[in-house]
Subunit: 293 residues, 6 copies
């Protein structure tokens, strides 16, 4: 169950409205790596978690915090939109260069659809979608997904920090940046703890039997481009992070196999095949049906 408190975790008011900037801020609310994504991602991971205890508790706790961040950003964006212009025509743009820039730079649907309101979309107006999230049931994979999400999220917040001088906006962003620092660190540590405790290990999934994979190509760097610089990296020689092999470097594939022959599906699917006259054009009957069909 979720309970709501009509307060915010941190101050979320701009010094003054700015409809152009409101659009930029939509990215960190409703974009691929916005707050809706992490809130929903941690929620679904908690509901799919197969072990009780600290890992599930961690997911429950952070998910709820992130829903609060969704709210903070939503409240902030609504305030930034408070003076979004009504007039939005060429004539209005021509009358005032600044107004023209605002008309061009703001999200037009925030006015028409939401009446100067916040929306569950990114900075280009693409609706948030469920396919942004990852919840596989494998915690080492998912915590790595979470570390990535927090890194991308903090990167985007850092970018939009420099897009404004508004002290109120910057104050909220400085708070979110710090929380993203925490969450990056936390998921990296939690991923390490899974390995330290022997619950999961590399390669993910660690409980798939290695004997069932083609081990001779499991640590080979195979170069499919014509540069040689990649051979200088530590991924081209030396021990592998999973502790189970040694990297080697191959300049291109050593083996290959011929293409299998083209497929010959049922002629009544009317693809172009080697026997164009196999169907009796009067009756539709397949005249020369392949024996094994």
């Amino acid at each position: 169950m979720f309970f709501h408190k009509q307060e915010l975790q941190f101050t979320a008011s701009p010094a003054k409205p700015d409809a152009v900037y409101a659009r930029r801020m939509q990215e960190v609310l409703g974009g691929q790596y916005g707050e809706i994504t992490v809130a929903m991602q941690y929620g679904f991971q908690s509901w799919n978690c197969h072990i009780p205890g600290k890992y599930r508790d961690l997911l429950y706790g952070i998910a709820a915090e992130e829903f609060g961040h969704v709210e903070m950003l939503a409240i902030m964006i609504a305030q930034l939109l408070e003076k979004a212009p009504v007039e939005q025509s060429e004539q209005a743009a021509a009358s005032d260069p600044v107004l023209g820039a605002v008309i061009g730079g703001m999200d037009v649907q925030s006015a028409i659809v939401a009446g100067a309101g916040v929306r569950p979309v990114d900075s280009n107006g693409n609706p948030w979608q469920g396919s942004y999230i990852t919840a596989s049931g494998n915690l080492l994979a998912d915590f790595t997904a979470n570390a990535n999400a927090e890194m991308q999220g903090r990167l985007q917040v850092a970018r939009i920090y420099n897009m404004t001088d508004d002290p109120g906006v910057r104050e909220l962003l400085s708070f979110l940046l710090a929380r993203d620092t925490m969450h990056q660190n936390q998921w990296i540590r939690a991923a390490q703890e899974l390995r330290d405790e022997g619950v999961e290990d590399l390669p993910v999934p660690s409980n798939f039997p290695l004997g069932q994979e083609q081990r001779d190509v499991a640590y080979e760097y195979i170069n499919f481009s014509d540069g040689a610089a990649a051979s200088e990296g530590s991924w081209a020689s030396g021990p592998t992070p999973d502790g189970k092999g040694e990297f080697t470097y191959l300049d291109g594939p050593e083996t290959s196999v011929p293409m299998p022959p083209p497929t010959q599906p049922d002629p009544r699917l009317y693809g172009t095949d080697a026997k164009p006259n196999i169907i009796d054009k009067a009756t539709g009957v397949v005249k020369d049906k392949l024996s094994d069909k």
Copy 2:
């Protein structure tokens, strides 16, 4: 530039067709973490790479290999579909329980749209989309995204490995599993190398000035759920992975701020506000315009 060779990196032919399984295999071709995703992701990261040398070379090389994996899976799926049934009605299903199961379990569009062909979709028929990929320009964030993608990818391949007994299919999957093992290890090592060389560091982005974030909440676990188990993790005390702080644990937020007042946008956006009669209903003129508007 890309050049194509009409051979495959590894054998990709099933022992016999299986339209039900073909649908499962679409996931690792055209799904969120399928081969199209990694091929395109590494491609876009290479084109957005700001430094020449080994990292960019690595991206070029692996991208090209992954386009070859797209092709191997496509060729395999087309062969699995080779005997996809044409009859697909209730009556056909009633005539034969196995046929009924095939009709229910296969991707119906592979027959109607592609004539027993492979398609750029996942196992539920959702088209592949550009928003599956990540290419931010920050290599530490992106290599973490890549490690996650390879983990999720190997996890899905491992799952579908157990969904079939076909030796031809399993042979290809055992090859892909090994390559995913390599690529997981490689991105983890490359991410580490970025830190070892001082090019990037934690927290991502490391070149954002820490003094501009709210440092007092940068390492606090703040518990928004009612369980206590998360306090037992190494993310609740001890040094942080970025080497710049110590984790602490708070059972709930220590501070909060009141909600800002509701916004009052232009009345001509016709939202419901505290002054419903502010507009003259005959002329449309805003009668009592707020002074600061």
Copy 3:
């Protein structure tokens, strides 16, 4: 069957072109609540209607009118785009502030994709999609959906009315506003008529046996936020609109149940579970299979 007449229901020509405003108008053509939505929604409701007579006839009639509104808006938008600029670079923008505003404010695809033409998209360029419509087969639910669609539609038309001073555009909008007034009234009346005639009733669906729902919570307002103001509304006490109960107010849930234990799916799905060593890593065999699996 549909028949087309090469005339319009009302005048649809702007006084002069305005590419910036054309983009705004796309919202009420191809947006979530645009004319394509209502035309298709009423069409699908008519085809799914289970009773002959006045309700189906109503749906047929209004659907056809709305397809004509799609055409009026399309024709209008094409005219607004007639002088969309060809030059669209930073240099062009720098040469003339008004041109710069137009480049920023118009829909770039209307020029590149449609050659100054109208498109089936909203004001942010999101393609219209079938999931915007509602056609459930239950007429009381669907007529409520229709009333909402006409309300949102009229609201958006009212908003864009104030975004221009063009008398030709405003003339068309004043016509559409009046038709939306009609259609709102009509669906509200039709919904009432369904109840008056005993065909449907509240709660929807009215023919689901109430004895099969948990009646003790059917009229309780349960407060999950920390404000008390909601208790003052007529939804917190007094008779309910369905005429079958009395509203009551609870400040938070009275009952709750513990979380069920985490799930334990087949280990070969390689989720993280409490028994990480259940799979023999050499053979892939599940060693300690849960008895009831």
Copy 4:
């Protein structure tokens, strides 16, 4: 801010797993009218609300309850998937008709992507998307949208109630049906209260000046189909629900206007126009530029 409690509002455990039914239940979690939709819709409406007090408080309170419903359904679906089969090929289907039906009837991604876990998608695997929600800032329109959402939602829950005999599942659904009954009633009452208090009225938006709409067509039923039955409804004569007019019935439009002439955009957009040779094919210069361009 949101706080999470590790308990559920009501019991949410099936008598036994049922992967086929789990897919059906995804609709009322992640579909157009599922619980994610109402939770997010009420959340965004609360953040966009322009007046403090009981209406905003109502939105806050119900939004939080709905997030708890998301969780209940997620937990239920995960349990229904607990024995989702791993083997998913034609051969597996052929070995056992029941297994074949399960393979055909379940959501294949719940196994491959989520490891027998719940996902933010509908019953066809379409990801939940932000465009499902409505939050316009106009409360009368939005409460009507909410009434519709609760009607459609209850209708779908009623439908899936009959799709299973599992007593555990039915118990949860009977609870949700009752809450949907409450929420339907509540939004209908709240919409009425807005009118009773004079905050909003019909037609929506009520503060748009009626004098600016084409009043002579504001209450006309105009018949664009060839049936006459619609003339029998109370929407064809008598007073209108907004109390401002009388319905009339027209058998077809009374007026029409000619199509405006085709548009003539810049020839350098290379559309097909009446002057195909207007461009000098050597230089690209427009030879016979229309004077007013």
Copy 5:
């Protein structure tokens, strides 16, 4: 304007319901090349048409016919769904193999969302979307798009023709096949007429000055794969269809240019670049700004 007649162009009733087949038929209604696509495509082309007369008239006329085809298919699908089963669980599937096959093979949303109704989706439940259509303003390009749409459409109808033995369904399909034959022929002829009349020509767009393209590579087949068979085609030698050149064959590109150097965007976008210490980590100031920035 569109007018609706409550009759169908042709008979559209199945001999008996078939929910499995209904799903297949959704493809030719709401899929990429279904009837909604062609109806909307011809509609938008007519509204964007820059010349009056026979071409625009053709578009108007066929668009209206296609909306009638949408209706015929919708009516047919609703009837096919008339006995869609309500029970849809593993237990129901186990009780009867045929029921199990129906549960697996039908579109689950047709029952839950539409109450055994037709929906604007394809056979995998993907909603129809505006990006399926093409309306560029260039008639030669668009008529080619139309010819393709009719070819793909007829191909799909031919495929589903063989998926059923129902005489009622086949009767409707035989009608649609014939109309698709007409429409293919018609668009091919109309495209030719554009060329015959000198309104448009190859290459499209024909009014772009050829002198502005790199003519030396305008008719070269450049082989980027390692097969030699493509050199045998008439696209590798001989006159070109546009009548303006001769095909030639190159086995691989003759020229290439080096990659441009990596980009160096503003350091405050925090990408990974060659100068990781360019930002003062205390102040955020860019210390060593590139001179030309």
Copy 6:
């Protein structure tokens, strides 16, 4: 297999950065008819090709060239974005009209998401999607789709050619225009060759038995609009392109059939039907079940 070479087929560097134009160029990279579409389309057609030899070889060869075009455009766009502004607020726009125009005209996600990088999206930020491509298995249909794709693609490149004066950009576009000229010609010729060789013919699919279609309407133009001009076209009389009939012209349909009666699905789907009391509201039992159900 694909191999990558770290060179470009042609020069791809702008004279100077231009973030506004970069957005326009995204259309021909990641739009419906951009280079990603043709690369993927030809790839999937090659993998689905049922005959070996020149046609498949052609598809392999062109697909690989197009992946190289994807790379050229990506590299170009990244360079155009090199000086994308960081400051993006109303205040920044107000300080400098040119900066304001850039803020309004560029793709905001190229800065926030990609750090001044290229993305797999169109010029409105819509992600590329798999449903843009066509690969049906029927080569005559697919080569027509390819001809259309190259026509639309060249049209869009011609349009954006005029949107800039940058000589570097124009040089690349002049190269792409010429390659599109080649590819248009090539697909038209290849389609003709399929017919010349008797592999395929009109109407597509040519191997469907014509006797199974309703031949009497196979060459009739049936006019559903009220204009007469379409009767003047060569599609209204004379021989048909498939060589199998004669066009005729009908002013409207000659025959029609009555609407079938409304459907009566299972009452437990709670649609509105003619028998609202068919369900016992206490027990949920259907009281008056239709005999044949």
